[in-house]
């Protein structure tokens, strides 16, 4: 099995992977020609946005930190951009980067004190932070209209779906490219080193605190970007999109897809968002479906959905072996 994996991964590295990605982008680019339903375009656009969010979440986890405030940072980006463009009349093209930067700055500010927390302490304290920071929306009710929902946010590209579809397809591809490079250069290696053993990492001179902060800064920037663009696409914001439950869903997308690989969160997001839409007629029974997916993955696929091909492969091999044995005897 090991040999097989190695061959496969070598082949992947050379040609298959880029080809697959290019093919995927071509197919996705052609999709609006086939799908005329604005509803389905909407679903795809949301998936693109959430892919940025979950992949940026995973960046932070590669450093061994498990943040449970990621949707709140998405909210920081979204509300910053929405409120500034609405109140000051700035163009979204300017406020979107501003929203992303706001998320990053707040991320950096908390990352320093949080760098002394480990494991579940980090997770739980960041969870409290996420809930608390969201309460600030209610304090500034005048601008955020947090209870009723913020409306009247300027559109980024008008009211039709197709331009957004291409915009987000491009943006998400760029973000993924940027984050991919981040993970697979020495910076990412250092983050993974810290996650595996922070003692060894610091004994070879890696500044643990600094790299943990870098991971958070990058993760928060990209999720802030996702939030800010979402604000000017959806043009209505509700705080429930960014609360604890929303954070937990982001985490679920990543875990169900598979935290161990770059592709995991992408696959997890796509599957967990598309499947409920496919079975929309089931209405209030849909959550059972989602729960079913969660339970199937957690019990049968320890590596998440990305581990499925290998699982199937090893299952086939085992079956073949069993057959061979019965034939022999």
């Amino acid at each position: 099995m090991d040999v097989m994996d190695k061959q496969l991964s070598i082949r992947n590295r050379n040609l298959t992977k880029p080809a697959v990605y290019a093919g995927l982008i071509v197919i996705l680019s052609l999709l609006p020609l086939l799908i005329k339903s604005p509803y389905w375009l909407h679903v795809f656009i949301l998936i693109f946005i959430y892919i940025i969010a979950t992949v940026s979440l995973r960046v932070i986890t590669t450093s061994g930190q498990f943040p449970l405030a990621h949707a709140a940072f998405m909210g920081i980006g979204a509300y910053t951009s929405a409120v500034v463009s609405k109140e000051l009349g700035w163009t979204p093209w300017l406020t979107i980067p501003l929203g992303a930067l706001a998320a990053m700055v707040i991320g950096i500010l908390i990352a320093y004190p949080f760098a002394r927390l480990r494991a579940i302490y980090y997770a739980v304290v960041s969870l409290f932070f996420g809930i608390g920071v969201l309460q600030i929306l209610f304090v500034f009710e005048k601008w955020t209209n947090a209870y009723g929902g913020l409306i009247g946010i300027p559109y980024l590209l008008g009211a039709t779906k197709v331009p957004y579809y291409y915009f987000f397809l491009g943006l998400t591809s760029l973000c993924l490219l940027a984050l991919y490079r981040f993970e697979f250069c020495r910076i990412g290696t250092n983050l993974k080193a810290i996650a595996q053993s922070y003692m060894v990492a610091s004994s070879v001179g890696i500044n643990e605190a600094r790299y943990r902060v870098i991971a958070v800064a990058v993760g928060c920037f990209f999720v802030g970007l996702a939030g800010a663009t979402y604000a000017h696409y959806n043009v209505v914001l509700s705080y429930t999109s960014f609360d604890m439950l929303a954070t937990l869903w982001l985490v679920l997308y990543a875990i169900v897809g598979g935290m161990g690989s770059f592709a995991g969160p992408i696959i997890g997001t796509a599957v967990l968002m598309v499947v409920p839409e496919l079975f929309r007629e089931l209405k209030e029974f849909v959550p059972f479906l989602s729960a079913g997916i969660l339970l199937v993955v957690v019990f049968l696929m320890p590596q998440g959905l990305v581990g499925l091909p290998q699982l199937v492969r090893s299952w086939i091999v085992r079956r073949r072996e069993r057959k061979a044995i019965t034939h022999a005897s």
């Binding site: 969870l127 409290f128 932070f129 920071v133 309460q135 600030i136 209610f138 959550p287 969660l294």
Partner: protein
């Protein structure tokens, strides 16, 4: 004066309910290494089951409470065996399992009774007068039941063989197994108790306030606050943190508008934890 007494009573009521839920949550964490994110949902269905028996089926209220507790506690046994034991100590996968459980419970509630706000009838009615002070009997009974259960729990954990075995497993599972203690039995018992306590709190809170689908996640956050603030593994810490959080929740809104008080409450907690990551009474480790 009156304000002070009211906020004191409210503090005690809230604190006793928070502690009931948090104690169970802490038991599961220290014995199985499970952060049970579904504990809030378990608390919620406790309330809804009690409501179902008492209002929809018209059964005696106290009997309904008892039935709700038994059903939810048995559900705890199921959770232990099929959802927690396979993933003990694995943070990622327990989150997934717990959210699966939350989804199933919440959706079931939605299908059966809908997402409207309901209320369980009062367990006691009327006003009790002590001098110049007026207290609702409902609050008093909630506090008395909560307080009594907590006292019983403290006695069980510290004074009985079973409780000592629970502590042993939480301090050194391998050491405990070598003394012939069955870790599975202790885990199952902890889960049974934890879910039962949550159901009591859910039913009482459903009468004291009301039943909403959000009560679960709100209580989950409280339980997390208590357990982390008190210090993992410290029962005294949970009680202390319960009073602190209860006081903040009962008192701050009297002075500052709701949202700001919430933000400040979380701010206080985050800052406390940054200075003392092991909580008030935490044993120094990790």
């Amino acid at each position: 004066m009156e304000l002070a007494v009211i906020s004191l009573v409210n503090t005690l009521v809230l604190a006793s309910m928070y502690i009931l839920v948090a104690l169970g949550f802490a038991l599961l964490f220290s014995i199985m290494g499970i952060l049970n994110f579904a504990h809030g949902a378990v608390y919620m269905i406790g309330g809804y089951i009690c409501y179902g028996f008492a209002v929809q089926l018209g059964i005696n209220l106290w009997l309904s409470l008892l039935l709700a507790v038994l059903i939810v506690a048995s559900f705890g046994l199921f959770l232990e065996k099929f959802c927690f034991r396979p993933f003990s100590g694995n943070f990622d996968r327990t989150i997934v399992v717990c959210i699966g459980v939350i989804l199933i419970l919440e959706t079931t509630v939605n299908l059966l009774v809908g997402y409207n706000v309901w209320s369980i009838p009062e367990f006691a009615s009327g006003i009790i007068r002590i001098g110049a002070i007026h207290l609702s009997a409902e609050r008093l009974i909630t506090f008395i039941i909560g307080g009594a259960l907590l006292l019983i729990m403290v006695w069980v954990i510290n004074g009985t063989r079973t409780g000592q075995q629970m502590q042993a497993v939480s301090q050194d599972p391998e050491g405990a197994a070598l003394q012939g203690i069955s870790i599975h039995r202790v885990s199952a018992l902890a889960c049974f108790t934890a879910c039962g306590l949550a159901a009591v709190a859910g039913s009482l809170m459903g009468a004291y306030l009301s039943l909403t689908p959000f009560m679960g996640s709100q209580m989950l956050v409280k339980a997390l606050q208590l357990v982390i603030l008190g210090g993992l593994g410290s029962i005294g810490g949970i009680f202390f943190a319960g009073l602190v959080v209860g006081a903040i929740d009962a008192t701050l809104p009297l002075f500052i508008s709701g949202a700001a008080s919430q933000a400040i409450a979380f701010g206080i907690i985050v800052v406390l934890l940054l200075f003392r990551p092991q909580g008030f009474f935490g044993r120094k480790s990790g």
